[in-house]
Subunit: 285 residues, 2 copies
Amino acid sequence: MFDVIVVGGGPAGISSAIYLKRFKLDVLVLMKDFGALDKTDHIENYYGFPNPVSGRQIVENGLSQASRLGIEIRNEEVLNIDKTELFVIKTNRNEYEAKTVLLATGSSRVNLRIPGFSDFVGKGISYCAICDGFLYRKQTIAILGEGEFMAEELEVLRNFSSDLYVFTNGLPLSVKVEGTKIITDPITGFIGDEVVNTIVTDKASYPVNAVFVAIGTPSATDFALRMGAFVDNNMIAVNDKYMTNIPGLFAAGDCIGGLSQIAKAVADGAEAALAINKYIHSKTS
Amino acid sequence: MFDVIVVGGGPAGISSAIYLKRFKLDVLVLMKDFGALDKTDHIENYYGFPNPVSGRQIVENGLSQASRLGIEIRNEEVLNIDKTELFVIKTNRNEYEAKTVLLATGSSRVNLRIPGFSDFVGKGISYCAICDGFLYRKQTIAILGEGEFMAEELEVLRNFSSDLYVFTNGLPLSVKVEGTKIITDPITGFIGDEVVNTIVTDKASYPVNAVFVAIGTPSATDFALRMGAFVDNNMIAVNDKYMTNIPGLFAAGDCIGGLSQIAKAVADGAEAALAINKYIHSKTS
């Protein structure tokens, strides 16, 4: 059992882990990739680097720094987080328990650049099966996705309907899925009036009552939503101690909004570590 | 005339200057030394450095980074800042005008480790001649200090009294001072009851009504106080836009309190730059 599991190996997560380790807490960092910084070639405005560095280089530096300080980092994809008395974190390889969780996965929420998509988010297009699935009981539900995250969400949706479509939007299905229609054609549009009512591909049109998005891997906001944490305008809502409305669930970096800058994420991480340390001590003393 | 003069060349000041330059503002950084980081050998918790670095190295990196981005940095000691329509910044070498000022000088306020000193701060011991000098009209006033800052404050005190003592506390006097008694013996204690009433050196005791501290160079808090900015518990009070109660006067980093960490100072700097940019555009549009 860990004191803290940090989800995300970028600036906010690693900065926090470094401080948490200093506080002699048992920390585990789970990360799946290099996030948004992997696509940034030329960073000039993060203090302390005389010459431009790539985002990848900064993230690698951070990982080396953390490893040298004895912080354990595992390359695992977090699929689900449950809060019972402790937090139970399910990854593609393991299941962990922790007293607290810090979400620091950046703002990776999928925003499909397909006509109609953004118009219907919140109007029949949802990011959270647990939150909204019951609204579409016995109706026609589409789920967008191709991997384990989609499969997890699909299991939730099966509770509400058996009229289910999986749309991979042109990607190969990477998990085994049964009992649903599977459409692998690229999606070209979402149509509706008040709410979405049709998915159009390059080959056909499919009437649907709801669309759930579970493309790629879940974002921090997805976890937060599913646990009942407040989300405001796609950002995880935290108080001035970086804690969500769920005791022990913290968030830092891009996923809580504000300036999308390394400087801000790094400071968030440090501040969140202080708050987590205080929180853990308040529970055990 | 500059858009912004940044006082301080540490993490908060330089991080801010980097962003301000990006916003195409005319920025000048004034710095006198490497501040508290110069005494820090081994920094492991600032994100992005795989191996421990010295504070001096980080500050040097920051200065190189800023220079490479075309930011002008001058090694001058700021002695006074006045707000008229613009800000007038007087240094040991020049006088500058600026639309805005960012104070980022760290928390360098002198705290003398002499028995009685901290007991009487606010009780006859003051850091601000302009603020408190009038309270001691025609009384015996001591000023602690040895350089230009002391000489500046002394000129202010001459308006209120001619019974003035300069205590250098064992240091050689580095400026020419006339018409005051000058005591260069080390101070061994401050004595009083409700308020301070005596300065004790290793040779004698001197009855005084007030003690003004102007040792070394002025801190950001000193400037802030003298301009009428609110100070709370020695820290410069700013709003969520990093602005003091004086329009156009901003502050960031250790001098506004909070976590004394590079991470926090760097993020402060970035956030303050955004706020300053908005402020300047709101004034010129």
